[in-house]
């Protein structure tokens, strides 16, 4: 388990992190989402012990520095050397040698799908292959905690799928993971927990299923021809969403009934009428306030 206790970090007068509290349970995949400049990179660099000057505490319960594997967003590899040499290098840094080192490199090469390119120069690899090797290098010492910083940036669909398989394998091995990504469907599909970070603060966190449920029954999605015009006439409070509208409500069944009645009165069948189930992306915009700002701008 990893505990982030009241961690703050400032760069001059700019507060990058403000009293961040997080508990990452053992064997879970924890997603970290935030806009650019929100402080998520600073947070994972603190957890990875790359940044060592900060306020607060990071507690690695049941683990030590040797059991941490960091996959940086940059492709940090020796590109003029082979995939095998890179893997062996990171293994050696963590004290592996001899036959166990060779065997481990061989297994990782297989896991990341690069066994047949093991002795090729990394420079000749595609972006996706480099990304997979970038992950492999962090797994050489069999770490307990793995931190993946945007591991699928700029990769082809095949490599992305391969990376998902690697993450799922690690989940099966009950590894603890922190997964940072701008692709929220990745977080939704791969992670058990999520934390939203904005302006250095954790604005929401918890189990993804629970968060989605909590936000799911508060709105109804309605789509019909000129739905916005129609609802305005009937004094509904709504917000445009995709090709329809979302109506915030405390009583979704009552809203359903009202919308069905409205459709009957105006003699049309709605194209879609459903309980609004937000995706992580919707939560993200709600929590970081972007939707609200956009709506205000439209309202003006």
């Amino acid at each position: 388990m990893l505990q982030v206790e009241k961690v703050s970090k400032s760069y001059g007068t700019n507060k990058a992190l403000n009293n961040v509290l997080l508990t990452i349970p053992k064997g879970t995949c924890y997603g970290l989402i935030g806009p650019n400049g929100s402080g998520k990179s600073t947070l994972i660099k603190i957890i990875s012990r790359i940044i060592r000057s900060y306020e607060g505490k990071i507690k690695y319960i049941g683990g030590s520095k040797g059991t941490l594997g960091y996959v940086p967003q940059d492709i940090s590899l020796e590109e003029t050397l082979t995939a095998r040499t890179n893997l062996e290098f990171f293994g050696q840094i963590h004290g592996l040698k001899g036959s166990p080192l060779k065997k481990k490199a061989e297994r990782i090469l297989k896991d990341i799908g690069l066994l047949d390119r093991a002795d090729d120069i990394v420079e000749s690899f595609s972006g996706g292959m480099k990304r997979r090797l970038n992950i492999g290098c962090a797994l050489m010492h069999d770490p307990e905690l793995i931190i993946l910083d945007e591991p699928t940036v700029g990769v082809d669909p095949q490599s992305r799928r391969y990376i998902f398989n690697i993450v799922n394998q690690l989940k099966q091995q009950e590894k603890t993971m922190i997964y940072v990504s701008h692709y929220m469907e990745e977080i939704e599909n791969l992670c058990d927990y999520v934390a939203f970070i904005d302006k250095g603060n954790i604005v929401e966190k918890g189990e993804i299923k629970e968060l989605l449920n909590r936000y799911a029954n508060t709105a109804v999605y309605f789509e019909a021809e000129d739905s916005a015009k129609l609802l305005s006439k009937e004094n509904f409070t709504f917000a445009p969403y995709k090709t329809g509208v979302i109506i915030q409500t405390n009583d979704p069944l009552k809203t359903f009934t009202e919308l069905v009645k409205l459709s009957r009165d105006h003699e049309f069948i709605p194209e879609q009428l459903s309980l609004f189930k937000p995706r992580l992306e919707d939560l993200f915009f709600q929590l970081t306030g972007t939707d609200l700002r956009d709506q205000n701008e439209k309202g003006k």
Partner: protein, 246 residues
Amino acid sequence: MWPLTKIEAKKQIKDKSLLFWTLLLPIVTIVILIELFSKNSTQKTLVASQSITGMSVFFSTFVIISIVISFVKDREKGMVARLASTPLKTYSFFLGKCIPFFIIIVLQILFLTAIGVYLYDIQITDYASYLIVTLLISIWLTSWGVAIALYAKTENTGLVMTNIIALVTAVTCGLWTPFEQLPGYLQTIGFILPQYWAHQGLVQFVSTLPGGEGLGTVALVLIGYSVLGFALSLVGYRGYIKMARS
């Protein structure tokens, strides 16, 4: 530390530009100089003695370019940050990266000297002392290379700085032409620069060349300049690490 030394060495061995600067160009230059300025075998030995010792010091300076490129690339690619998350200590990182360059410089000087000894009959009077001077040259140049690398924003900084250092000192320290033949004002400038002492340190143990400075003084000067290089590195390393980890 040793895994880093090994991987850095592998990287440098594969670097064709390093091979060009450390061996091919010096050998070609030395051969051309000997052929241009000597008519008989006695003259050849004399010119070879001057050009091999001079070019050893001159071309070993260019290793600084490789040091700067290596450190800047590691910073820019996130390798320094990545290694910070491993058990590798900061001092091991610096030592691990420096050792291959130190060895490259030593091997370069010894290889060029071997050419002189076997092909042009250069006489080395004291191999042990010659080796000591070579090791000191290598320590000093590595320290300067790291110092420049830690302050360099880009790889080009290293390229420009090294060229300035190499060319200015070549002219003023008697690496291209015998020091005694230089104008007085150039000799005065050369006298305060480490390249002069490095060259004179080697010359001291080549019987086929006149002049040279005593090992004690040469060692003192080169150690002094090495300390300066390491002190500058120590001041610059925090900025380098900070930039790499941000």
